[in-house]
Amino acid sequence: MPKDSGIGASSKRREDVRFLTGKGKYTDDMNVEGQAHCYILRSDVAHGTLDSVDTSAAADMPGVRGILTGEDFVEVGGLPCGWQVTDRFGEPMQEPKHPVIAHGKVRHVGDPIAVVVADTLAEARDAAEAIDVSITELSAVVDMAAALADGATKVHDDLTNNLCYDWGFVEENKDAVDEAIKGAHHVTTLELVNNRLVANPMEPRVAIGDYDASTNDHTLYTTSQNPHVIRLLMGAFVLGIPEHKLRVVAPDVGGGFGSKIYHYAEEAIVTVASKQFGCPVKWTSSRSEAFMSDAQGRDHVTKIELAMDENGKFLALRTDTMANMGAYLSTFSTCVPTWLHGTLMAGNYTTPLIYCNVKAVFTNTVPVDAYRGAGRPEATFQLERVIDMAAREMGIDPIELRMRNFVQPDQFPYQTPVAVVYDTGNYQGTMAKLLEVVDRDGFAARKAASAANGKLRGFGVASYIEACGIAPSSLVGALGARAGLYESATVRVNATGSISVMTGSHSHGQGHETTFAQVVSDMLGIEENAVEIVHGDTAKIPFGMGTYGSRSLAVGGSAMVKATEKIIKKATKIAAHLMEAAEVDVEFKDGQFSVAGTDKSVAWGEVCLAAYVPHNYPLEEIEPGLEESAFYDPANFTYPAGAYACEVEVDPDTGKVEICSFAAADDFGNVINPMIVEGQVHGGLAQGLGQALLENTVYDENGQLLTGSFMDYAMPRADDLPSFEVDHSSLTPCTHNPLGVKGCGEAGAIGSPPALVNAVIDALADKGVVHIDMPLSPSRVWAAMNQAG
């Protein structure tokens, strides 16, 4: 019988009441009295020296309050990078300054050059046209291989070259991996591209700066996944504003998918402009600006080699990757191709020897950073593609080949050769669950039926594993993170027993206001509606690291559990006092404290009231009030895993791929709200299938973005996708967090691209096609079919 409330129940999302009536409060829905608007003049060339920026004519235009240029930010810090990567030779990465507004040089189309603040946006835009910008255009560096070639034009003149770092992992394994590959029975080699993506949350970024001269307080309203991180980065590293004088508010946020983690220039711009020009200043991104200023995702070029013995047992894996950083280092850009990628190269398998080389490259393109999955989709895609190719070359069934190499259920905790330790899992279990859902035996008949209609049918699978619940602070610190990655929660019990939970996690589509209330209400045995979740405002919540990397429940939820446990402990002391019993004899169940073996009991509400009206209270022992905080720093990552299957039909005349069915069997550990989890999987699958089938970010040789609008950048729409079969019943609870949860937000985007590509290659195998790079657009598929063989 499914539960109707608390942990495990599909409680209705409380957020939906406001979202269904247009009452959500997103940043652009906010206006501060007296606000001016700003327009950002951006570079229309990818690379050039910024010879002069003459704002004199624009300054006299109607409505203009003031203009900022790169000169105004020379004395402040650049936008910081949060992760220091050390290269193969023990040297730190090359780390250029990322100016808030371009100074001296422009390095990508969209680089800010000047900011006009005016009474209206139209006036600001008109005045921007009167700014006289002189740029001497330089040749743009767009292709990564060309960027690394000797004598290539440098994106940053003060760096040695365009190589950010040359990273090897695990460096000590390199020679052994080379040897194993040399002597192996069979080596499968695949070169592939992981296409660059644009996150494109439906809500464009917005920032409002509001400075109060009477108190010297700054408020920044911004579309962020982590308001405290923005406060810390902008306050401490860019503008030098102490935390207590800077409040950052991220209200309802219309999707992030990673792109709203980072500290962006516009946040610093409106903060400075508000103080300098004496009025609140609002910036709303147009969609075109979003395409050239939001950090983009993926963009790896990889060669992967898998060595096997005669039975298909994996012996060694070697990968060489070029990872595009774009023109500057975005906040977490450097850890994506390294620690979020190399550490996952073991996948679900027992490959004993792995070496992963990554060269991170500067180019004259928009910065690249984490996008849903971040490093793990890139690892999974290359691994699951090369395994499928190996199965074909070896004449082994692709599922059988995976099963032969899976980590066995009795091998956990499993130490991989790439540093991480999987605490638990059952990869055979999710694969078996997947095969229950898909009718693989009926595939031959369906393929024959498709063939009778002139279509080519294919079936593909992929397994995946990811590292979520980011992350143990001491571990990531040793790996170069410039932050801790714990999470915080404060549980405030109000005098009549209702609860306010202040969390450092941030909800922008994940339904935290519902799920988190389920957890706390379940622990306390009270109504879900008696628990309110507060997030997104640094003035209200404890310092926390925010939401990304599928960490909110595993890390933020664990902090909430710890704080609630402290509440129960203190409330038990109060109850013992009220019942004149020993604390050890008091039991707490379903919102009621009772003394074992007696009829003595007090209700939750009575204990709460006693805490705030302490007339009969153990004041000598404990303080009045009932409010507790906790920080939770995870002991390990969590490791969601699963198996996906995709069936496609390809039209050989047009190359068009139709997804006939898609099934997902995931192990997320324990699940708090199944419907919310399934919704997250649907969304992840769609974004992964979008990458595989539709989405691509294309720059021409001059660094001009050719796919800079919703008419040029194809995202999945209603008629592109089938309804999905999803299952999360084959589960192994996480062993090291109190809820036994692993995280579900990114899984779909990680596992689905290889499943789809494997299915298409299966459909085209008879035509001699062995690989097609994503996206599998009709023209690419058609070309592959007609060029192969």
Binding site: D16, K23, M202, D252, S286, G509, G690, F710, M711
Partner: protein, 153 residues
């Protein structure tokens, strides 16, 4: 210039240039922020409102092109179809971040009012202009079928 627009049953005066898109008149001039900006080029559906009951992209509709038509926004949306859509949306937990949902609900309610028993093809045809980056499409499809049942009673 000054324009009188009939919005959600009331006549509202807007002082703005005639080529101002209706979306910005609603959001910036009248404070009706339920209707959202997504792309500005009628490619995503976030800004969907009705003109005389017909779903229309307000981001590309200049206010001087509106000739007395009744404008309905998410803030004023009512009736049997939209009530059924909202109930089904809640039951099936359609929204995630919620940002595009004003437009989704406008489009879905219009479909259901016109086609009480839509097929999957009807749904895909009516909804393919509304982008949801959280990709709630799977649930939108199911919820429209559920709303059809609710509407039928």
């Amino acid at each position: 210039m000054s324009f009188n627009l009939k919005i959600n049953g009331e006549t509202r005066r807007v002082d703005a240039d005639g080529d101002t898109p209706l979306l910005w008149a609603l959001r910036d001039e009248l404070g009706l922020t339920g209707t959202k900006f997504g792309c500005g080029v009628a490619s995503c559906g976030a800004c969907t409102v009705y003109l005389d009951g017909l779903p229309t992209r307000s981001c590309v509709t200049p206010i001087d092109s509106i000739d007395g038509e009744e404008i309905t926004t998410i803030d004023g949306l009512s009736g049997k179809a939209s009530a059924a859509i909202r109930q089904a949306w809640t039951e099936m937990q359609v929204p995630q971040c919620g940002y595009c949902q004003s437009g989704q609900i406008m489009a879905a309610s219009a479909l259901l009012a016109e086609t009480p028993k839509p097929t999957d093809e009807d749904i895909d045809g009516a909804m393919e202009g509304n982008v949801c980056r959280c990709a709630t499409y799977h649930r939108i499809r199911a919820a429209i079928h559920r709303a059809a049942e609710i509407q039928e009673g």
